[in-house]
């Protein structure tokens, strides 16, 4: 059974008790992302403290992979600088789209390495990335808003 490769215990744990679940106020930017192939949705909010990601919260209508991924994301980026968090995002994306051929770096990705198995299932890669795309979009919005007021 290959199932355990994909649904590693870490993923199932995050799925059952997701970190950052439930939308929080106040926030600096929000992004809603959809997976058009299945209809899954995430709404994700970001709050920054200067250049640091101080809070991430989300509401995810989706499968175990998308929910667990949003949870892991929350753990990985909160407390980091925006630049660092985007580097983590890039590493996560590279692994997720790597067809199982990219060796993930646990120092960078923490629990995120558990998603290496998902990379072998192309149809599920979008699930793993849904929250990350929302995060990226939200961060861009904060910066846009900053520039607009600068």
């Amino acid at each position: 059974m290959q199932l355990e490769q994909m649904y590693q215990e870490i993923i199932l744990d995050h799925y059952r008790t997701p970190h950052g679940a439930g939308l929080k106020d106040p926030f600096d930017a929000e992004s809603m992302q959809i997976n058009p192939t299945c209809g899954d949705e995430i709404t994700l909010r970001v709050k920054l403290d200067g250049d640091t990601v101080s809070e991430v919260s989300h509401e995810t209508l989706g499968c175990s992979i998308s929910q667990a991924s949003a949870s892991v994301l929350t753990d990985l980026v909160v407390g980091r600088s925006v630049a660092e968090s985007l580097r983590i995002l890039a590493a996560f994306q590279e692994m997720a789209q790597g067809r199982g051929k990219v060796e993930p770096d646990e120092d960078v990705l923490g629990d995120g390495v558990a998603f290496a198995g998902v990379a072998k299932y192309p149809a599920r890669v979008k699930c793993a990335l849904l929250g990350w795309m929302a995060f990226k979009d939200a961060v861009v919005r904060v910066n846009d808003a900053k520039e607009a007021t600068a």
């Binding site: 209809g39 989706g62 599920r124």
Partner: protein, 415 residues
Amino acid sequence: MDLQKVRADFPILSRTVREGKPLVYLDSGATSQHPRQVVEAERAFLEQHNAAVHRGAHQLSEEATDAYESARARIAAFVGALPEQLVFTKNATEGINLVAYAMSNATGFDGAERFVLGPGDEIVVTELEHHANLVPWQELCRRTGATLRWYSITDEGRLDLDSIELSERTKLVAFAHQSNVLGTILPVAELVRRARAVGALVLLDACQSVPHMPVDLTAAGVDFAVFSGHKMLGPTGIGVLYGRTELLEAMPPFLTGGSMIELVRMEGTTYAPPPQRFEAGTPMSSQAIGLAAAVDYLGAIGMDAVYAHEMELAAAAIEGLSAIPGVRIIGPATTEDRGGAVAFVVDGVHAHDVGQVLDDRGVAIRVGHHCAWPLHRRFGVAATARASFAVYNTVDEVAALVEGVKAAREFFKVA
């Protein structure tokens, strides 16, 4: 029907997936598999008769044209139509777009007045439509200023005939013969009666009926109908638009180019009669021949037998799945006025995760909104799991589905 003999005609059914599990293919509602006979018919054509159809005067071209037109005639007979009432398209989606664009091309086209739409006019669909039978009408309304209205769906997954009234401004009613999600068979005769009463045209999306049950389009009394080759044991790349002769003759063209013209000058062009008027460019010749072989194959089994077999599978699926705690069928829970698509949700396990557990066991189903997103919203779910059947499926395969769903509940610890 000799099921083992049928299965032997489908090479793909003997392959394994996911480390040696026999393939249990329950996704024929998305696309069906092909019997050897279809692939062989295409190959024989390509190796013996391939040439440009309707464009050449040499022997090969004559043979190719004959093969292509014979395919049209056989497919027409299969759905109770005349050959000249069938237009080949690349898929059903193109067929629906063809009608929608022809309608917006009707302004100023001699004799096409009845296709002209404007503000105040209405197109009517239903809430269960596949995107293919929804978005083209949204776009047509955008282009013309007409209004889109729709019948809603009851909690049981049936059409709510009282949800709207047609009016004299209703120009066209478009609906699925059978829902690709719920399996519901819509009341065609009643919908045709209501459309006729207000002088509206009727387009039937027969994508999920023609492959699975006997369908006579002339007897159904619809004006237009579409279906796709790849859902009925035939090739991808070919679909059919049926139109009543009088309508096709009056309708302006959609795609333009070679083979659909009468007279071309730099300053302007006149158009050939149907069906050529609607078949611009080099047609899908080998695919038409493949589809005709598919139709011959289904015809030899008999569509009554096909339907009976698939309904036996659907009944087993409904029964087996309903018996699992926390599993809810989305759509009619009986086999009455129903086809073989069975959609369901599992409490506490997302459809993607159900599908993944099944896939791991070799069982291929479809998960998501199945291109019927508004219908899913209607039922308050983002996604469903859907099993769908074809003539080659077995009750053992249904049992594998039911076992797999149980396993998914166990794996995700909701059992």
